[in-house]
Amino acid sequence: MDKPSHLSVILDLSPTQWALCAQSTNPPGISLQAFLSQLLAFFNAHIACKDENTLAVFGALPGQSVLLYSSTGEVVAKDTEPTDPNTYRPFKTLDATVMNSLAEHIASFDGVSEEAPIGLVGCLTKALCYINRVTSNSSTPSSEGEGSAASVDPRILVLSVSPDQSSTYIPIMNSIFSAQKLRVTIDVCKIYGAENVFLQQAAHLTGGAYVQVEKPDALLQYMMMSFLPPPALRQLISVPTQDRVDFRAACFCHKRIVEIGFVCSVCLSIFCQPVPVCSTCRTKFPIKTLQRLNASRPLAISASTPGTPARPPAQRNGTATPATPRPG
């Protein structure tokens, strides 16, 4: 395995979720401090694996997505840290750069009282763009010799603590498709919280591993075993992953995660209920189709909102289809 490997790490840095994670005892959580220490150790291990290995770190902050570190980027070596005789210097600069830029970005949130959803999608797209640039750049300079695009083995590792945001279904799916096209593997490490449907799909569709951490104290153990071997090596070294993947989609109209959806025959938009006009491509559907489809979902109400007393299905057929609310 002589190929250099590129790793883009996406850190889920939602302060609220990390606070919850630190407090949690069942399942046991992990504090951000401990997490960061183990993470830095993992970064160093990745860099140490091979000279040409590269790394990019993205932070998904509330409402923001930032590049915290990249091997090709500038090094924020402030040299305020005393040189440590026990640490290999490149490791030190890498760690310092990541932590300093993180602290800087966190500081910018002073005075904000509400947390916005984290910019996970932004991070994913930025990571993909970064990988695209790295792989296409490395192919152009011929002086590099063997450093062709194919030789870089790119992948993305998402370290997640936040739950799914169903509103991001479409951009996440689009990112997954781009990743498939770029042949980027997406690994997911779920440190805290319930299973993440979209990220499961991301890992499954790109051939990556989805690992649910059960013992966060030993996070480094998980990362070393599951995420250190590059994809090319995983044919020989099996890494743990999930064998059950939730493939449900979120509807376009209410961003609900649905089991049975109604798909526009023109643009493939997914709706949780039959609509007379597709909100995406404005295709009009015949009234007969609507009636037929409506008749087929006698449980639509009770399934989505089990608490409310449901109207009998016959009554639903008569009424006009509820208009699609247009969010945004």
Binding site: A19, N86, A103, C267, P327
Partner: protein, 606 residues
């Protein structure tokens, strides 16, 4: 007892007995027995072979339609008698086989009159059956029809029936279903278990599988065309005597192929010649010789005689450079090779000297006959002589012909643009925050959380230096991950080692549950499109069916439980059965839950 056409003493499998040919069967009865031990329906006879004339034993072999080996009979009478007897059988059977073969392609409009065979060219009934002037079997059209091969008869009948609405009447429907099942063993297996087991009705089983029946009906209603064989009566030489067996089918074919013979027949029979005389003279005439489908005429050469009647109809040998019968249609200019032959005389190719039309004069009539035959065949297939399309010579039409669609550049069509409405909202997904995730769990003040994060970023260096992984947790993580990988590896490595019987039971249980699920959802959901459904069930029927299916599905758990219980007896880990049946049970549970909810709904407050 049907009338016996001919009979002879013959042994079969070295046992003496009596071989008889009746109106409908070829049968052999062992000496002393009353019931024939070998009985072959006429329609089953497919081939005939016999021992040589000079051979010590006089044998006859009858090959069957679905059994090449067939039956061997040895005629046991004294040589001379045996030969004569075999002769008779052979002639009769040849006829029958010829009819079987002729019947194989669909020619239902042909009235199949009685067939006779006589030594040397002899009369046969023309297509209109009428009593024969001399011996032989009297005309009996009806038994003949019933004697036609049964399979053929059935499909001929279906041809006319299934052409319109295929699955309308029950008998053909039944036949179609049977055919579909026969051609699909897996479906047949399911059918056996569910329908014959009395779980669901025949109609329910086929509901949602109509496309199979439609496909079968469509496949059957395809018409078979006329066989392309050239009419070529083959004479058989027996004891230096030449015989041609004439069947009505043959007569019909000859008349169709050679209209001149039909003309001669009309002119002369019954006036100048009797039926028998007509045919015997025809087969000896030059006219017949010129109609031969091959040029190897050595055997027939010496019998050809001058015949004042038939020679009148003799046409000149068609071996000129120009064929006598010119094609009437004009060849389309675009495919006419001759049209451009003079266009490039200076630069064009040299003429091919090896290929010259009519170089070998003897084959010319034959080639032309083949061509004519092909033309006739095409015409019948297309329903009458090709209609002469008189093209208007306007240039536009010619140009339109040249303008092939494939030559067009298809770049002009841009396709349908995906016109997205409100594009913005697909990019700012955070505009709508559904509260599903955030609502759960304890609320955390953002500012406080932010402070925590801030403090976490301080002093990282010292903590990194002191990083230590808890040994217990590390070991536990290692074990769980190893298990994860090992279980996958295990699945990959494990071979299928379930006992045959248990495995079959599991498969049965699974397919049955699947079918019930299919039926259930079919009853719940509307048909994929209104047009396709042949029988539209009323809502009440559907509800009843769904309830019935639910009852069946409710038992699936018990069935699986029973399987799990039997597993240890077979030496199989019950857990494996559970794992294998889990997906089915999950699907069943889903249906049961749905049904429960639905019923709760309808019974709920109005």
């Amino acid at each position: 007892m049907p009338s016996i056409v001919c009979s002879a003493q013959a042994s079969y499998k070295k046992l003496p007995g009596l071989l008889e040919l009746t109106e409908s069967h070829l049968q052999w009865t062992k000496a002393g027995d009353k019931v024939p031990s070998v009985k072959v329906a006429h329609s089953e006879a497919a081939s005939l072979s016999r021992s040589k004339v000079g051979a010590a034993q006089v044998r006859l072999k009858v090959g069957l339609v679905n059994d090449e080996t067939g039956h061997n009979f040895t005629f046991t009478s004294p040589q001379a008698v045996a030969l004569a007897e075999r002769e008779k059988f052979e002639a009769e059977l040849t006829n029958i086989i010829a009819r079987n073969r002729a019947n194989a392609p669909v020619t239902p409009q042909l009235p199949s009159g009685p067939t006779i065979a006589v030594p040397t060219p002899s009369p046969a009934t023309p297509s209109t059956p009428r009593p024969l002037p001399h011996g032989g079997t009297p005309a009996r059209p009806t038994p003949h029809l019933s004697r036609a091969p049964p399979s053929r008869a059935a499909s001929v009948a279906s041809d006319s029936r299934t052409s319109g609405t295929p699955v309308s009447d029950p008998t053909s429907d039944f036949r179609l279903r049977k055919k579909v099942l026969l051609s699909n063993p897996e479906l047949a297996q399911l059918h056996r278990e569910l329908v014959m087991g009395g779980h669901i009705s025949e109609n329910e089983f086929w509901e949602g599988r109509e496309h199979l029946l439609l496909a079968q009906a469509a496949a059957e209603s395809q018409k078979k065309g006329k066989p392309g064989q050239l009419v070529d009566p083959r004479p058989q030489t027996v004891d230096g005597e030449i015989k041609i067996v004439i069947t009505p089918q043959l007569v019909h074919d000859i008349f169709e192929e050679f209209p001149i013979v039909a003309k001669a027949y009309n002119d002369n029979v019954p006036g100048k010649l009797s039926e028998e005389q007509f045919w015997s003279r025809y087969f000896q005439s030059k006219l017949f010789n010129s109609h031969r489908a091959s040029i190897r005429s050595s055997a027939a050469q010496h019998v050809v005689k001058d015949d004042p009647i038939f020679d009148e109809y003799l046409e000149k040998e068609d071996d000129d450079i120009e064929p006598r019968r010119l094609r009437e249609e004009r060849v389309d200019t675009f495919i006419d090779l001759a049209a451009t032959s003079v266009d490039h005389e200076e630069t064009g190719n040299e003429k091919d000297v090896t290929m010259q039309a009519g170089k070998q004069k003897a084959v010319l009539p034959l080639i032309r006959k083949f061509n004519e035959h092909s033309t006739r065949l095409l015409d019948t297939a297309l329903g009458g002589p090709a209609v002469k399309r008189r093209r208007t010579e306007s240039g536009d039409e010619r140009l339109a012909q040249l303008d092939l669609e494939d030559l067009h550049d298809n770049q002009t069509s841009t396709g349908i643009l995906l016109d997205m409405q409100d594009r913005q909202r697909y990019f700012d997904g955070r505009a709508v925050v559904t509260g599903d995730g955030a609502a759960a769990g304890p609320k955390v003040d953002f500012r406080e959380a932010l402070q925590q994060v801030k403090s976490s970023t301080q002093d990282w260096s010292a903590r990194l230096a002191q990083l230590k992984i808890d040994k217990k947790a590390g070991d536990a993580a290692l074990v769980s991950m190893t298990q994860n990988v090992a279980s996958r590896l295990d699945v990959k490595m494990r071979k299928h080692d379930l006992p045959e019987g248990l495995f079959r039971q599991m498969t049965t249980c699974q397919t049955a549950a699947n079918e019930f699920l299919r039926q259930f959802w079919l009853a719940i959901y509307p048909p994929p499109s209104e047009a396709q459904m042949l029988t539209v069930a009323t809502p009440a029927q559907k509800a009843a069916k769904a309830a019935k299916m639910i009852a069946y599905l409710g038992k699936t758990h018990e069935k699986v439980e029973a399987l799990v219980r039997t597993a240890p007896q077979e030496g199989v880990d019950p857990a494996r059965i559970k794992v294998a049946m889990k997906p089915v049970l999950d699907a069943v549970d889903k249906a049961l839950e749905y049904w429960r909810l639905k019923n709760a709904n309808t019974k709920g407050p109005r």
